[in-house]
Subunit: 323 residues, 2 copies
């Protein structure tokens, strides 16, 4: 099988599968499209949490124990910020800060987020294309009973405690896909689109909300395969299951299918959800049940390999419908 | 003796005497005017080296062994900046970074450097007024045979190696004294002006270059006393002696008097220069020879006390002339 692969991803879970994909596919054969709806300006610095999580994971600099940030991180800066009476609710590690300071400096010098991301990931030794979904600002807002919360205020500041009533993406209607995403969508050799096991509401929906992306993916004539971030009714990490419940869906792999309705050609689930996968197959959606919990590099690479093999054997949804 | 004291200072040497002054004078009785000609924007961050040196020294957070920066500093940020291919020539410690990030954020929110300095020094527990010479940008430029160098490029980047042919202060003609400096110059109760043992060319001249400051100090009708940064023909720290030679003066306490001509009512020198001090007295300038090398807190406090006592007994230069 040859051809290009587009993968959509957000934070930690998605980055793990992205790691696996980069260990299988040559650099020219993969475009990793990363959510920037979580981006925000903190203490004057432009923070792109999902881009950084992907960059740190791919360069193997990520802290595997803590689950976020960099290994060997120190916290001297934050200690002093608190002493100075600055904002202490969002932790910026000393090593992590280099990314934000460099990004902010370059943005001020009119480089685009795409250019900056390419330069910084390259400096970290990453040879695959890590591209922001857009160079225009899109900001995820979580709507709650107590009012709207900017994403990081919800996610970090309030640790996802408020009950969500909806999610919206500020700026999305005016945003354009990044040049590299536009380029990927214009390719005639896309062999598969992989939706990584990221939070559907908070990591993948912002990407799909950028005008032209959802339609562009469907028009590729390539299979679109999601790896479920829900295993056995629970989210492997983060608030996906809680959000699903609050927004009216029972957390399950079927709910993932419903969420991505009209887009998926197939779904990869964990063996724990094999029965549900079987039922989905009966209903007409190809599924693969395998080990979908990535604890080791081997897990990441194996799941990526199985997901690609599964996708490459599928027909695109559009073809399936037409047949 | 009662009355207000204005002290002019720059980096490390000046900050040591400032420390001594704050241990003697109540907060209301002292205005510390700090050079901002060294300020520069590095990696998008506004760095005010002399303000920070004074702040760290007064709050006793300064590293006494290294002679600059903070005690217990870590360097994780710089390590990662270098990995990212960023600018590595100017070291920013992790703890130190908090000051620059907070300052930059507040400047972007239209706070003045004076307001920010007051807030940050207060957060560090400093009760005396530490005030920038100006809220307007003044940038020290060292002229060399190889062209002009921004101060930090000369001082840190090239470690003062180029031969200087002159020094100029970009922006000085358009700058106004900071509100607190204007306020101090308008007081009727100023009992003394102390010129700390800072580099005359690089730390004190920028302050005196702000329109109205030199004339304002002379108009105060208060004695102006400098503590010599030259001891035995050598600079205690930094390039003062080298600069003097390059700019045509033999490094000596007499050269300090010549440099500040028209301003001084008296000079404090080290015992090593007692003979030269005696000669200057004969020529009509009051001098005090004492231990002017500050190795300990006791040295700082003793020198501050002796300098104040010496100054308080002098007549202002203007009065002396008139008499």
């Amino acid at each position: 099988m040859s051809g290009h692969v587009i993968a959509l991803c957000g934070g930690v879970g998605g980055a793990k599968l992205a790691f696996g994909l980069t260990r299988i596919l040559p650099p020219d054969d993969l475009t990793l499209v990363v959510n920037t709806g979580d981006d925000f300006v903190h203490m004057g610095l432009h923070v792109s949490p999902d881009i950084d999580t992907v960059a740190y994971t791919l360069s193997d600099l990520a802290d595997r124990e803590r689950g976020w940030g960099l290994a060997g991180e120190t916290w001297t800066f934050m200690d002093q910020v608190k002493r100075l009476g600055g904002e202490g609710w969002f932790n910026l590690g000393d090593r992590d800060l280099a990314m934000h300071v460099e990004r902010t400096r370059r943005l001020a010098e009119r480089e685009t987020l795409s250019e900056i991301t390419a330069a910084l990931t390259s400096a970290l030794g990453i040879r695959h294309a890590v591209v922001p979904m857009s160079d225009d600002p899109v900001r995820t807002i979580v709507q709650t009973a107590d009012g709207e919360l900017a994403f990081q205020r919800y996610f970090v500041g309030k640790q996802c405690r408020p009950v969500a009533t909806g999610v919206r993406f500020d700026g999305a209607t005016a945003a354009r896909p990044s040049p590299a995403l536009q380029g990927a969508l214009a390719r005639r050799d896309v062999a598969a689109v992989i939706v990584c096991p990221s939070n559907p509401y908070l990591s993948i929906d912002p990407i799909l909300a950028v005008p032209g992306v959802r339609a562009g993916l469907k028009a590729l004539n390539a299979p679109v395969v999601a790896v479920s971030p829900i295993v056995g009714g629970r989210a492997l990490k983060g608030p996906a299951a809680k959000l699903m419940l609050e927004l009216g869906a029972e957390p399950s792999v079927t709910a993932i299918v419903c969420h991505y309705r009209g887009l998926l050609s197939g779904l990869v689930v964990d063996g724990e959800d094999a029965d549900e996968a079987e039922a989905l197959r009966t209903l007409g959606l190809p599924t693969l049940a395998t080990g979908a919990v990535m604890r080791s590099d081997d897990d990441r690479i194996r799941l990526a390999r199985e997901t690609l093999a599964f996708a490459f054997e599928l027909e695109p949804r559009t073809q399936r419908r037409a047949s």
